[in-house]
């Protein structure tokens, strides 16, 4: 709960930076730069197989749980960040 409060206090930019850190760690690529408009096509190694693992990593990092519908309907990083912010 305290952590959720912490997320609420996070600005979008901070959430995006943390998501970027997760992507860099998980995909082992320090060169990844995420923007709201970034999609899987823009990041090498981010495909359907790694997508769920990135989602699980984000869920653990932010201590939240996404719904299946949320995960399936994201069109870009920005929408993922919106979901995190709404939790």
């Amino acid at each position: 709960m305290l952590y959720n409060q912490e997320i609420m206090n996070f600005g979008r930019a901070e959430i995006l930076a943390k998501v970027q850190e997760i992507f860099r760690d998980y995909l082992d690529d320090e060169g990844i730069v995420l923007l709201d408009s970034t999609t899987a096509n823009d990041v090498e190694g981010w495909d359907s197989l790694t997508h769920i693992q990135l989602v699980v990593a984000a869920e653990k990092a932010f201590k939240i749980k996404f719904t299946s519908k949320e995960i399936m309907s994201w069109k870009n990083v920005g929408e993922m960040v919106d979901s995190i912010q709404s939790k």
């Binding site: 995909l27 090498e44 190694g45 495909d47 359907s48 197989l49 790694t50 997508h51 769920i52 693992q53 989602v55 699980v56 299946s68 519908k69 995960i71 399936m72 309907s73 069109k75």
Partner: protein, 485 residues
């Protein structure tokens, strides 16, 4: 109507001329003409199956609008589920009814229960597996809110029936093709030339490489009991080259025909013979089908079971691959083929190799380093084994083929009765030509994309040689392996 026939040559010449030089500048009339041409192409062999395609198109168009207009999520889900049941149901009816009847009957028989069930005479509508998947992705993405339903019936119907892709793919997604149908398409000589080059490459792979190998593999498979283990092993290797050249050749032609008409069709193959492991192979082989099943089967399953970590991934992968196998047809061999590939992923998932980047390291000769060559070879062997299951008519035939390969005759000199050494030698030469060109151009969209060669004379010599080969070996317009799926 197959791409490698004289009939198609006349058809595409007429379509091309009318499309650009009569209807130029008018997108709406171009689409009307494209739809008529697509229905003509599809109904060429059997016009009766056209009614099913048209009825399906109308049904899903209305369903798409209904999903869009539904205010509650529950209603959207209901319409989407209805569409999925209808789509999957018709696939099951046309492809799997007799398989289910005979499988259940033989299960009962094995339990000592007598059944008197009969199979039905069901004609499989051409391309149903391909256009059903196109329509279902439209419906599911609409429900997920990825885009808005198209109100343009003409664009939707043309998307479903688009003649370059209707018989054997690639399975284009709606958000890739429908927007192209709504934009102006003017004659572009670069695009047309690129399309012609890709068609030539596809024709070479299909008519020269695949069909030449087919004469050898068909002979081996039809009488496999008569041949030595070494011959059967050669036959298995050759079949991998054959099916690759056949299907990727078809895909190149489809994409090339799309380019002639100003369309960008989704890529279907990315040089899978150079894959470094099985996961890499499936990222390069029949991409439009595997990505479809990854998005609509693997992803939802993996999301559901994501808390099980690797176990969840393994379970989702195996289910997805069994479905990929069964998509090819109603036979237990296809299910086993899928299960086999799913199981090959297990060590990759456990070791974390599945998500590792697969870059080929090159030595000073421009060839893969020994380690990567070894990985390619291992992948090649694993895929070859899988294709023995795929090619066999039954599990018993697969077993018989493997038993023969493992016999002492594996050490004898391979020889195919009825096939001359010249045919065998030509098969090897054609495979080498294909491999060399594809290796050289592996960072390009297709193997004959040699526009970077500075000497135009050399470029034209290569085109001319391939054209002569196609002309010389193109006497028979044989069908494509993937038409039956």
């Amino acid at each position: 109507m197959v791409f490698n026939s004289f009939t198609f040559l006349i058809f595409i010449a007429v379509v091309f001329c009318v499309y650009y030089f009569v209807l130029n500048e008018n997108t709406k009339w171009q689409n009307v003409f494209l739809l008529i041409a697509s229905y003509f192409f599809y109904g060429w062999v059997n016009w009766k199956i056209l009614s099913l395609l048209i009825a399906t198109t109308v049904f899903y168009y209305i369903l798409g609008i209904a999903i869009e207009n539904a205010k509650e999520d529950k209603k959207k889900s209901l319409f989407c589920t209805l569409g999925i049941i209808f789509g999957v149901g018709s696939l099951i009816y046309f492809k799997y009814t007799n398989f289910l009847i005979t499988s259940i009957a033989s299960l009962f028989e094995s339990l000592g229960l007598h059944t008197d069930w009969h199979t039905f005479k069901i004609i499989l509508p051409l391309g149903i597996s391909f256009y059903t998947f196109r329509i279902l992705s439209y419906l599911i993405d609409l429900k997920l809110g990825k885009y808005e339903a198209t109100k343009d019936f003409l664009a939707f119907a043309t998307y479903v029936a688009f003649f370059p892709c209707i018989l054997s793919g690639p399975i284009d997604r709606p958000d890739a093709l429908i927007p192209q149908l709504k934009t102006k398409r003017l004659f572009n000589s670069d695009c047309v030339l690129d399309g012609l080059r890709q068609i030539l490459w596809g024709l070479f792979k299909k008519m020269v490489v695949a069909d030449n190998i087919a004469s050898v593999t068909n002979e081996i498979w039809s009488n496999y009991n008569l041949f030595s283990g070494s011959t059967l092993l050669i036959g298995a290797f050759l079949y991998l080259f054959q099916i690759y050249a056949d299907f990727s050749g078809y895909s190149d032609m489809a994409i090339g025909v799309g380019k002639l008409l100003g369309f960008r069709i989704t890529i279907n193959f990315k040089y899978p013979l150079f894959a470094l492991n099985i996961a890499d192979f499936w990222r390069r082989w029949h991409i439009s089908l595997t990505s479809w099943l990854t998005d609509y089967v693997f992803m939802p399953l993996n999301i559901k079971f994501r808390n099980l970590n690797n176990l969840g991934i393994i379970f989702s992968i195996i289910i997805t691959f069994i479905l990929i196998g069964l998509w090819h047809g109603a036979n237990w061999t296809f299910a086993l083929f899928g299960l086999y590939h799913g199981l090959l992923y297990v060590p990759l998932i456990v070791s974390g190799m599945m998500i590792k980047k697969n870059r080929i390291h090159i030595n000073i000769l421009g060839l893969p380093v020994i380690k990567d060559f070894g990985k390619m070879l291992l992948t090649f062997l694993l895929v070859t084994f899988g294709l023995i299951i795929f090619r066999a008519d039954s599990i018993i035939q697969f077993y018989g083929y493997i038993v023969h390969i493992c016999s002492p005759s594996i050490l004898s000199v391979p020889k195919v009765l009825g096939i001359t050494n010249v045919t065998m030698l030509l098969s090897v030469v054609f495979i080498l030509i294909m491999l060399i060109l594809e290796w050289k151009n592996r960072d390009k969209e297709y193997g004959l994309d040699i526009s970077s060669i500075k000497y135009s004379l050399l470029r034209y010599c290569i085109y001319f040689c391939l054209f002569i080969l196609v002309y010389y070996f193109g006497a028979d317009a044989s069908s494509f392996i993937y038409f039956k799926f």
